[in-house]
Amino acid sequence: MSGHAGLFAIVGARVIDPANGIDGERTVLVRDGRIAGVESPGALPSFDGVRGERIERIDARGLWLLPGFVDLHAHLREPGEEHKETIATGAKAAVAGGYTTIVAIANTRPPIDNAALVRFVKKKGEEADLARVLPAATITLGQKGEGLTELVDLAEAGAVCFTDDGRPVANAGVMRRALEYSRLVGRPIVAHEEDLGLAGGSMHEGEVSVRLGLRGVPGAAEEVMIRRDLVLAELTGAHLHVMHVSTAGSVRAIREAKSRGVKVTAEATPHHLTLTDEAVKGYDTNAKMMPPLRPEADRRAIVEALQDGTLDAIATDHAPHATVDKELEFDKAASGIVGLETAFALTLRAVQRGELKLTRAIELLTSGPARAFQLDAGTLTVGAPADLTLIDPEARWKFDAKKSSSKSHNSPFDGWEFSGRVVRTFVGGRVRFEL
């Protein structure tokens, strides 16, 4: 597979490229790591005039060929918590899940709040040479919610967005200045929306939490903060990106803001698309995450918002934790689950259940997130990087968390059976994963 880095064509596959409105059999020509042509079946010559070489053919009959997936939200834990994940193992899990571009969220130890750290993340990603790793940087120094980081310097070093992640900027004045200042660099301010005064529980506050005797977090904790930040985005004209939207109320707020032209984009996770707070029964700590799993009505609102465009992307919130952080009493366990290797299967499952349309689902994994962050990714447009994912839509498989490429195995989907599987991932025209 590695011999054809320079020049090859993938033939026979059903090509789905939502950004270009393509869904049908095509031949995709790759030259020097970029898309060189997307042709009707049979239209491709066997000899490439540009390079003066014979074109190697990869037979992909029965498979789907998609743009490589783009994840706006992955925690790679390096630097600081390398026992949970490293940039290399995270990038390996990414390509195993069909992802070719991932944004490494900045809440590491130390947090990514200066240009040297941004360059460190970038360099580690390049050394791993798997998925493309794009660094996020923090909004405030040390994620403390006080002084702004040097956004210009960080952006020049390669930061694609700014976020204080799970320590949301509590002071509305600081958030306002961050949004205003971010217009200098044209990169989004990315917000984990949680009012800490309303938070503090370990699952959704509702019928299941009162039954289990667990302290709950109401949907209002998210909605109050989203509404504040939408108001500030409107005030400043800056681009706000909302992480992991989880409630119907949040969806309503974003829909309303978008309809009035507020510059906001938003994502939801595969787990909020799939599970509800019922999954917490039995105190499975792999069902503990922030924002928490919500009731069915919220799940349905997320599905609808993904389909109708209120939400722009499916993002994993890949959050590796070691057994010692998870095999604990529920209230003491860490929040979050790994997601890179199950995201596609869960998204496709929503298609199979009739909840999402296939092309929209693919868009949510590819051009949707790429557009949200203005990344050169997520399409098969001629000239774009040859980041490609091949899917066997018929393959039946069972997810075994222990065998995943990630260093951590904290997944509520361990043992789930899926149909449709990533079989090969190309980054820049080179095979970086093969089943």
Binding site: G213, E329, F330
Partner: protein
């Protein structure tokens, strides 16, 4: 013989009326043993019962110990101080290490909801939940049911009102499951900050007026409100709580003349219950304690019997 569909007793949620009645019937037999001058039967001879108490407790802990000893089990007690927990050992490690010593029953009290379920996944012993966080306290629910059943004959159609910090109360949850399974109608009463509307999904009625909640009740269970809730987070003050939700002689007038007063202990005298009411003729607080031992004997007997069947 086994009364429990599952090997463990983690909660009363989902237990059938038959299973609960059987536990209570067994407890009555056990109480008869407890009242003898020679309080010893060989029922659990050769069985090892570990009491794993991570939270302070007088009544429940002592009660489980007495219960095990009357049944001739060997008992071992571990508390948080003086155990490896203070050295940072996780609950799962503690469970696995105890399991290696072949206990038959592990009784656990822990501050985290779900702790008993977690231990049950890492041991072959039968696990009895002696109170896990704000989740359940099943033996308390059983002893309350036993206390009421013997006063009334049956709980069907009886109205039981539980007053106080029901949000954070494992007793309230176990009572709600246990008493409603036996046919009682349960009302939760407290200030709105401690009474989220979702609690109604447990099959209980919610009320914020003490007077309305206790009028017509056949029994009133007063819960203790922890001091940490009364520092302005959930309640403005202990004083205001007491005058709004406390039960004194004046409020007693609202109750039916034959209504019973229960309390799971320990009582905050003068806060939720005035001393006159706590020690008054309608109070069944001390019979609750005696029944507590009887119920725990029954539970230990039944889970150990189930355990023997499985491993025999």
């Amino acid at each position: 013989m086994t009364a429990l569909a599952e090997r463990h007793l983690l909660g009363l949620e989902g237990l059938s009326r038959e299973a609960i009645e059987h536990l209570l019937d067994t407890a009555l037999t056990m109480r008869e043993v407890l009242r003898r001058s020679v309080k010893k039967v060989p029922t659990l001879r050769g069985k090892a019962v570990v009491n794993l108490f991570f939270e302070s407790s007088t009544r429940t802990r002592m009660s489980f110990e007495v219960a095990a000893k009357v049944l001739s089990a060997d008992t071992y007690s571990i508390s948080q101080t003086g155990s490896s927990v203070t050295k940072g050992e996780t609950l799962v490690d503690t469970a696995k290490n105890l399991d290696a010593m072949h206990p038959d029953v592990i009784v656990i009290r822990h501050a985290s909801s779900g702790a008993a379920a977690l231990v049950s996944r890492h041991t072959r012993a039968a696990v009895v939940n002696a109170g896990d966080g704000q989740h359940e306290h099943p033996t308390q629910g059983l002893l309350d049911a036993l206390t009421l059943r013997e006063r009334w004959g049956a709980l069907d159609g009886k109205r039981v009102t539980i007053v106080g910090d029901v949000l954070h109360s494992r007793v309230a949850r176990s009572d709600a499951f246990g008493l409603t399974a036996l046919g009682a109608r349960v009302t939760f009463c407290g200030p709105p900050t401690l009474l989220p509307p979702e609690l109604a999904s447990l099959g209980v009625t919610l009320a914020t007026s003490l007077r309305r909640a206790v009028e017509g009740a056949d029994a009133v269970m007063m819960l203790r409100v922890q001091n940490e809730r009364m520092d302005g987070q959930f309640l403005p003050s202990s004083r205001e709580y007491s005058r709004t939700f406390g039960l004194g002689l004046e409020q007693l007038e609202w109750l039916k003349p034959d209504a019973l007063i229960l309390h799971p202990g320990p009582v905050n005298r003068g806060v939720e219950l005035s001393p006159e009411v706590a020690d008054g003729p309608r109070s069944v607080i001390l019979p609750q304690v005696e029944n507590g031992v009887a119920v725990r004997m029954a539970v230990l007997y039944l889970v150990a019997a189930g355990h023997a069947e499985e491993h025999g």
